[in-house]
Subunit: 157 residues, 2 copies
């Protein structure tokens, strides 16, 4: 899977799957809205503070973020950690006026927070690529992340 194919998969995904372990040691998956990206390595997710996954991630940030397109036989599993942010800087960073439908209190709504997912390794699957599947190291992810700006599309710029 090429770098461009990974960027394209992430860019066209409105949702991703977040994998984590809860307080009882159970594996969990939760679908999340994930539309802000910095390269391959950093992804911002707006979510409800009161959600079970936020409470679990505050105790154990070990997580993965999975982008997939079953119809294209493509998937990308990023391994890393999830950091939960409550400060205004992060809240404003990805706030959309229409988010008020989910958070009536606006950008200061107590139930609104931002999960920052930071990847340090990864694995890709692509049914159409010559390199069907393969691993990515932290260095490779860093090379596809450093110098990029946070954007609603995952691009080379």
């Amino acid at each position: 899977m090429t770098q461009e194919e990974m960027y394209a998969l992430i860019s066209r995904s409105k949702v991703a799957s977040l994998g984590y372990t809860d307080e009882e040691g159970r594996q969990n998956i939760r679908m999340v809205f994930c539309t802000f990206h910095r390269g391959i390595g950093v992804h911002l997710i707006s979510t409800n503070t009161s959600s079970a996954h936020v409470q679990s991630l505050l105790k154990n940030g070990n997580a993965c973020l999975y982008f997939s397109d079953a119809s294209a036989f493509e998937a990308l599993c990023l391994h890393g950690r999830a950091v939960v942010h409550f400060d205004r800087e992060y809240r404003e960073l990805i706030w959309h006026p229409q988010d008020v439908q989910y958070y009536p209190g606006g950008v200061e709504d107590e139930d609104y927070c931002v999960i920052e997912f930071i990847a340090d390794s990864g694995r890709f699957y692509s049914g159409h690529s010559e390199n069907y599947k393969g691993d990515m190291t932290g260095q490779e992810i860093e090379a596809m992340t450093a110098g990029r700006t946070l954007a609603e599309h995952c691009t080379e710029a």
Copy 2:
């Protein structure tokens, strides 16, 4: 989310997401073909013995299985364990003649195996239901599983 809505979600899903922990302690998600079900509690997955997730599950079977339909705002996360079967009984149970495209050696192909996922608790999310989200106990799952036969659709029968 009603029992019927859960059965319908599982039945129309050709793929599910399997969450597990690998040998390095990293969270992982892998998309799997999951079309054989016994009620809500037991799901059979055909997969490649050589795949990374099989090797991880043989060491640590603690896993979750996630069925989701983003367009319907429905998701079901089952927590439990994954058991990897290599014996002919399980191989034949879910073998389809067209599977030979993935396993040229047929039902005896060394790279073919069956993952049995057994749920002992769960959580559902439904944007359209009055009960937006909720937990299921092992007893509730057992009540939706006992007496059912293994089938390619998840039904009450």
